[in-house]
Structures are given as C-alpha cells and as structure tokens.
C-alpha cells in the first residue's frame, strides 16, 4: 500500500510516496526528489557517502527507514550551500581542491559541517576522529583535512555570520 510521508527537505515541504515504510531515506531523496549530491556507497552505514543533515546532525540515510524520519527536517548537500552562497566547508573544499573522484565528498562535507557546527577551533586530531568513519579510496584525506581546518578557521572568525 502506498503511503505518503511528509518531510522538510532543504527548507521545502515534500510529500514522499513509498510502498514500504522500511525503504531507506536515500531512495526517496535520490530517486523522487532528484537530489544526487548524496550517494549510495554501501547501504550499510559504513562509508558515509550518503550523509545528510537531520536537524543539523549527520545522518547516514542509506540505513534510515523513511518512516522513522517522518516529519523531520533534512538538509542535503544541495541545501547546505550553492555556488552563489557556498557554505564555508564547501568553499574550503574548493580552495583546497579537496576531491579526486569526489564520490565520497558529499559525506566528508556533511560530516565536517555538522561537526564544526558544534566544535569550534578543533585540533587536527579532533577532525581526524570526527571523520574516522568516512571512507575515501582515492586517498584525498590530506586535502580533506586541510579543507576542514581551513573551514574551521573561517567559521571561528566572529565578524562573519554563516547560515
């Protein structure tokens, strides 16, 4: 039986249809809303490529049943920032050229942005720990670390407000 589940995605109210309340959120976002910043990597919550923000916290949507997040506020990479108004973490990833194939980068940015929202001026070791569950096979880690540290410095500047 098809049910409709209401979500707020990137600030917009959405009605998502599913025949299965256990369908992971990932398929609703990617296939119904055509949001493909997030990626299917493992379907097991192991790699982080599918990370979105759930009330500001990093959430692996490949293992999250859609019924469990009904009514929630979700932000995806597309909602985090845009070329016109990039989130500081996105800008830092561009400044540091922190991507190779880029398939994991959604998770890196979303995880880092959620982490930096609650941790000001982290040490590099803290960033390493915060990203310890995000996998990259290209070996872009060094640039990703640099980018997150750059974003952290940017976010720590009191004069600039960031959404």
């Amino acid at each position: 039986m098809t049910t409709t589940i209401k979500l707020t995605v990137n600030g917009k109210a959405c009605d998502l249809r599913t025949d299965d309340p256990n369908m992971p959120l990932l398929y609703a976002l990617r296939d119904q809303l055509d949001l493909h910043g997030l990626h299917f990597g493992c379907g097991l919550g192991q790699c982080g490529a599918c990370t979105v923000h759930y009330y500001g916290e990093a959430l692996r949507c490949c293992v999250m049943p859609i019924s469990a997040v009904a009514g929630a506020k979700i932000v995806t990479l597309e909602g985090l920032g845009t070329p016109e108004k990039p989130h500081p973490v996105q800008q830092a990833f561009i400044d540091e050229q922190a991507a190779q194939c880029g398939y994991c980068i959604n998770g890196m940015i979303m995880q880092a942005a959620a982490f930096l929202a609650t941790t000001k001026n982290p040490t590099e070791d803290q960033v390493r720990q915060a990203l310890a569950g995000n996998l990259c096979k290209c070996g872009t880690h060094i640039r990703i670390l640099r980018a997150v540290m750059r974003a952290a410095a940017q976010l720590a500047q009191p004069t600039e407000a960031h959404g």
Binding site: Q90, Y103, D125, I142
Partner: protein, 721 residues
C-alpha cells in the same frame, strides 16, 4: 607546409552528425572543433577517472591553440564522438593521450595561421596568435579562429611534425589551474553515471551466484510478484537479474527471489595462497631482464642472500558500486558507462551480443574512482544484456557486496630473490623470479562478467603487456636476471589495479636491495646511488636525501623503545623508461601490539614537464595514502567457494586517524616530455615502509599486508635471533 581544407558543417557537438564527426586519431577533426563563436570542443578518448586529467588535457589543448581555458569544453570517451586513444590506464593519459591532443591542436593552430597568412598576404612568421585571434606581429586588426573557420570543421590530418609551442611561452600549461569538475562535485550538481536517468528507465539488481563457479539450478520469483513495482526477472545461463519500476523495489526483489545454485569449491585455501601461487600451473617462463651471467656468479664463493616476498589479492574497492544505464533500441545498443575503456568495451559488448561494433555506442560518465579495471565493465555488460532482453532502458547498480565480491581482483603475487655479495661488498649476482597470472594478458581487457555468466562469446585475446613492460631493476649490476613465471590462471578473475605488477616487483626489488645493504653495512641511499648510472635518477635520490634530511643508517635497530621509530627509502624509474620517483617513509612500530603506523612520507617526483602542479600533488598524495592502505590494511578474504570480504567491515581500508603526512618535492622539467603520474609513486610505497620497519626494529616484513599479527611475528623472529 600544412595541407589545409575545411568541410562545411557545424562544430557544436550536439549538432554534429555521426557521418560528419571524424573519430580518427589521425585527423584534427577527430579531436577538435571550433564553432562560430570561437568556442572550442575537445574530443578526448581518455577520460576523467578522478585523477584530474580532464583539466590537464583541457589545459594542453587550450595552451597549444592559444585560447583561454574557459573557451574549451571537453567531451570524453564517447565511441561516436571521440577517437580511440586506448583505455585510460597505465599512467599514459597525459604522456600518450595528451600528446596526441597537443599535436592535433598544434596542427590546427598552424593551419589557421597559414590561412591567415594568405589573407594578410604576409609570411606566416610575421603573425602571432593570442586568445584565438591571429594578428600581425606589427599590430593591427586580426582574424579570429571563428572568422577563419566560419563554422566549418577541420578535415586535415594531424601533422606529426607540426611545430609545438615553446614551453617558455606557456601561460596555461604548468599552472595549478583549479580542477574543472570540482565545483559541481562540491555542490551536488555533478552527474555521475549513478545519477543519470533516461525516460522510461527501469531498475535492475543482480542476483550473482552463491559461489564463483556455481551454476543456477532453479529460481522462483513468486514472492517478488507481491512487491509493488516488480516487473520480471532476466535469466540467461547463470546470469540472473530482477527488474522493477523503481530502485528500492529492485533491491527488495533481489533480496526476495529464491535461487538455488550448485555447490562449487574450486578456490584455494586462503591461508595457503602464496604456496598455491608458487605451485600453480605455469604457461611459460619468460626472462624479462638479463645482464651478464648470474648462474656462474652465484656459484662463485661469496656470501649469498635469499628472500621471498608476497603480495595478496586486492579489490579495487570503489566507494561507489559500479553502475550503468543501457538502452537497446532498433538493433542499436547505447550504454552510459563509467568504463575506463569505452572503445574496447564497445568491441567486447558487440562480441558478447553478436552484433556489429557499429551498432554499439559507449558513452562515458564518471563513476567512483576505479584505480584500474574494477566492476564497471562487468556491470555495464550485465546492464546491456538486461536491456536487450527487456527492450526498455534500464539502470543497473551493483550493491556493495557485488562490487567487493565480483570486481576482478588485483592478483596475488610471489617473488623470490637470490643474490651474492663478494668480500668487497659488491653485488656479484642478482636473480629474481616473479609469479604472476597471465590471464589478464591473454585477453583484450578482462572478460566481461555477463559473457561468463550467460555463456556468451568473449572478445578474443590480443591485449598483451599489462604486466610485463619494464619489470626488472633500475640498477646497473654486472650479473642480474629476472624471470617471470606466467601462471595459467588466477584463483579469482584477475585484472589490473594501480601500478599492476610494477608495485609488486618494486616491493620485492627495493626490499631485497635494502636487505643486501644491511647485510653489507652500507647505507641504503649509498647502496642505490652506487649502482645507478642514470643522472636523473641520481639527481632525484640526492634531492630526496636532502629533502628528507636523511642520516646514514647506523646499527640496527635504530630504536630500542617500545615505540620504535625508523625510516626507509625506496626508488623506482617507472617501467625502467619513464617517471622517476623516490620516497622516504617514517614509521612507528609498537613492539607490544605489532601496530605499525606510517607517520610521514617524503616524495621527490620527476615526471618531466608538469602540466598542473597542484593536480600532480593531488595524485601523488592519493598514490601514497591509497598504497599505505593496501600495504598495511587491505586483505581480500575468501572461502573455498566465494569472496567473503564483501563490505568495509570485512575489507577495511585506511581511515583518517592513520593517514600519514605527505611532503612532496616536485622536479619540473618544462622542456622535457611529460610522463605519467597516476601510478609511479604507488610502486615505491610498500618497500619504503618495509625498509623503515627494519630500520626501526630489525624485523623484515616480506608479506603484505603488514597487519599487527605479521609484525609481531617478524618481531619475534628478531628476538629469537
């Protein structure tokens, strides 16, 4: 004098008809079109696999044409539009593909200059070109490329002797131009193959065999019929797939269908893999490098050394499982594929489906990084077969266990070494034997999985040389010999992963040389430089010695503490003919737990002319980090029936806390030819780490991966004396 004709026709790719667009690598029009607005379209058979080559190749074309980078759009890996420039592999993209494009662009520029000279009625030498506008050097009005071409396409041959721009005049090549693909990847607007949609597209998932060689005995999809969106199965031989109108329904159907497979247990015992390799059937033995007479020298009285090294199977481990979209319409197959080899894949698919290659079009779309021949082509072959059966477009994405379980594996490798050293500490003989599967060489590409499962025709053998070029040692030894023992088969289907063969060969070579240095009480740098005559190699090693602030190695171990620190060096001249790279690795070994950490890696790299320094650094960093992962962590596990390391829990890779610092010193040689950088650094990583562990502890690690149990074992051997 460049012959010069144009044919009328639009240059915009969407307007180019199949009959008009040349895909010949011998023709300028194969690579380059310039439209009425002066916008350049570059057609590249080499593709962006996440390594930055899209940007680098676009830089090369823009530079040689003297147009701004922003005016060039690059189309990649479309068999209808781009020349066959061979697969994007083996660190040959810039070196070969980029240079074909440079020459085509130079031919185009020269032809336009010649045409302009005739319009100006002046000698060509009196003209200059800037931003796509040709003007007299003396100044005045000019003609733009767009005006000269007036919407026509190039119909001239690439002139192999077309003069190239003087590197001193470069404005785009040699610059760290930001990568063209990164912003879209950062904002979620990039279209990976996983994101590509066609109207009316169905979704498929595979039900792969329960064992590598199992056959499908029975299946029943009654329960699937209860699922909303379920369409049908596709079964051909041992290929079984489920199809649904949406992705989640396809996944549920794949989990729901019941399939009975025959039992099969043809894999070797995992714990005996190295012995299995050594005892496997050899197709032929081939001496790949030989100097002097080693057998005589080994007989002479001297101290001798021998050692054996082994490297396990690796999965490519792409973060995104393979995906492809296929459509079979009116006898014509079109696939959107992340394959590194569109043109080769077209041949393979045509053979498999028994249709003419002209009826197959492969269009490249980027997937997750592949680092070689991962599951992309297999997934594409399955999608193609399913689409043909359905008569409707279909998107097939593999699940995580499909990618870990069914991508062809980097083959396990065993290397044996013997050397003799005289009383003057000179190496009087060096012999090595490498055991590698021949299987990938015999085929043109790795055989498509759909052809195997569905028992369809396979594209014939022809593509040799995956492993053999340049195996050997880069040193001048009086007596040396490398023999390759080409194995009849590999336990699991095998294909190339980054620096295939070269990494394993260099691991053995550079580790064994370090053993000889230690046995002779010679500093490892000194040992290498003593046997090197190549001046670029010597220069690189000297730079590395200073860059890493290397101190001559003293007695062993360097560090007696519970946390033992040491450093090791390794050097390679890739395939003995191109890119030079040397690294020093600093490691810490916890003697109590066997935990090994790579703290820092110093890299000096000489690939000749550098196209994009930051892109090159990105690649070198990636080479180091990925190979530290392969050396310390990655290990494919399997039962007698199937791969058992089917996800990131059972096939762990290096994570952020263990990523080393990487310091890079680039040697740029703008007036030399550019060589590849996608693989060479990979080749030196495992040996540098092994040598550093020896330096720290006196223990020799000869079997990859260097997980704690193996490290403890080696430490215990030292204790036991």
């Amino acid at each position: 004098m460049v012959t010069f004709t144009f044919a009328p026709g639009p240059a915009r790719p969407e307007a180019v008809q199949q009959t008009q667009k040349s895909v010949s690598p011998d023709e300028v029009g194969g690579f380059i079109a310039i439209d009425a607005q002066g916008l350049v379209t570059l057609y590249s058979g080499k593709v962006e696999l996440g390594t930055g080559v899209l940007t680098a190749i676009t830089q090369i074309a823009a530079e040689e044409l003297s147009v701004p980078l922003s005016r060039v759009t690059t189309i990649q890996g479309d068999t209808r539009l781009t020349p066959d420039q061979d697969p994007t592999f083996a660190s040959l993209t810039i070196q070969n593909g980029g240079m074909q494009i440079r020459r085509a662009a130079a031919t185009a520029r020269e032809a336009l200059l010649t045409q302009a000279a005739s319009k100006f009625r002046v000698a060509r030498e009196l003209l200059t070109v800037n931003d796509g506008v040709i003007t007299p050097r003396s100044g005045g009005e000019g003609f733009s490329y767009a005006q000269l071409l007036n919407g026509r396409i190039f119909t001239i041959k690439v002139d192999p002797a077309a003069p190239l721009k003087d590197p001193r005049d470069y404005k785009i090549v040699g610059e760290s131009v930001p990568r063209l693909d990164i912003p879209a990847k950062i904002f979620g607007t990039f279209t990976y193959v996983q994101d590509f949609k066609l109207q009316g597209m169905l979704h498929a998932r595979m039900v792969h065999p329960a064992a590598v060689g199992a056959t499908l005995e029975a299946w029943n999809d009654d329960a699937c019929r209860m699922l909303a969106g379920y369409v049908r199965t596709v079964r051909k031989g041992d290929l079984l797939a489920v199809v649904a109108t949406n992705e989640w329904a396809a996944i549920r159907a794949a989990n729901t269908i019941s399939a009975t497979w025959s039992s099969w247990d043809g894999l070797p015992d995992e714990s005996q893999l190295a012995d299995y390799i050594r005892g496997a059937k050899v197709d032929r033995n081939e001496v790949l490098q030989s100097m002097g007479n080693t057998s005589e020298a080994l007989k002479a009285p001297a101290s001798t050394l021998q050692a054996t090294y082994d490297f396990p199977m690796n999965t490519h481990g792409s973060i995104g499982p393979s995906c492809a979209v296929a459509e079979f319409k009116e006898g014509m197959l079109t696939v959107w594929t992340p394959s590194q080899a569109s043109h080769l894949l077209r041949q393979q698919l045509a053979t498999m489906l028994q249709i003419a290659p002209e009826r197959v079009r492969c269009i490249y779309l980027e997937g997750a990084g592949c680092y070689g021949r991962n599951g992309s082509d297999d997934c594409t072959s399955e999608a193609a077969l399913i689409a043909k059966e359905l008569g409707q477009p279909v998107r097939l994405q593999w699940m995580r266990w499909d990618e870990h379980g069914w991508d062809p594996k980097g083959p396990a490798t065993v290397l044996d070494y013997r050397a003799s050293i005289d009383d003057q500490n000179r190496i009087t003989a060096w012999e090595s034997d490498i055991f590698l599967p021949e299987r990938p060489m015999k085929r043109s590409g790795a055989t498509l999985l759909a052809a195997v499962l569905a028992k369809l025709p396979r594209y014939g053998p022809s593509n040799s040389g995956i492993y053999n070029p340049g195996l050997g040692i880069p040193y001048s030894l009086t007596n040396s010999k490398l023999t390759a023992h080409w194995l009849h088969d590999a336990p699991l289907p095998a294909a190339w992963i980054r620096a295939p063969g070269r990494m394993q060969n260099t691991f053995g070579n550079e580790s064994f040389l370090d053993e000889i240095a230690a046995a002779s009480s010679i500093d490892p740098f000194e040992m290498r430089m003593r046997h090197l005559t190549d001046t670029r190699g010597l220069e690189l090693l000297e730079r590395l010695r200073q860059f890493a602030k290397w101190q001559p190695r003293g007695s062993h171990p360097r560090d007696a503490g519970a946390l033992a620190r040491g450093r090791g060096v390794s050097y390679a001249k890739y395939e003995l003919v191109r890119t030079y790279v040397g690294i020093v690795a600093d490691v810490t070994v916890d003697r109590r737990t066997g935990t090994l950490k790579v703290d820092r890696v110093f890299v000096v790299h000489d690939c000749g002319q550098i196209i994009n320094p930051d892109g090159l650094r990105n690649q070198i960093e990636g080479n180091v980090v990925q190979t530290v992962s392969r050396t310390l962590v990655e290990l494919l596990t399997f039962s007698r029936s199937a791969v058992t390391s089917l996800n990131w829990g059972s096939y762990p890779i290096l994570t952020f806390p263990d990523v080393p610092e990487v310091r890079i010193d680039l040697i740029d040689r703008p007036t030399e030819v550019p060589w590849g950088a996608g693989e060479p650094t990979t080749s030196v990583v495992p040996s540098a780490i092994a040598n550093a562990v020896f330096d720290a502890t006196g223990a020799r690690l000869r079997s990859v991966p260097f997980r704690p149990a193996k490290v403890l074992g080696a430490l215990n051997l030292v204790k036991a004396g």
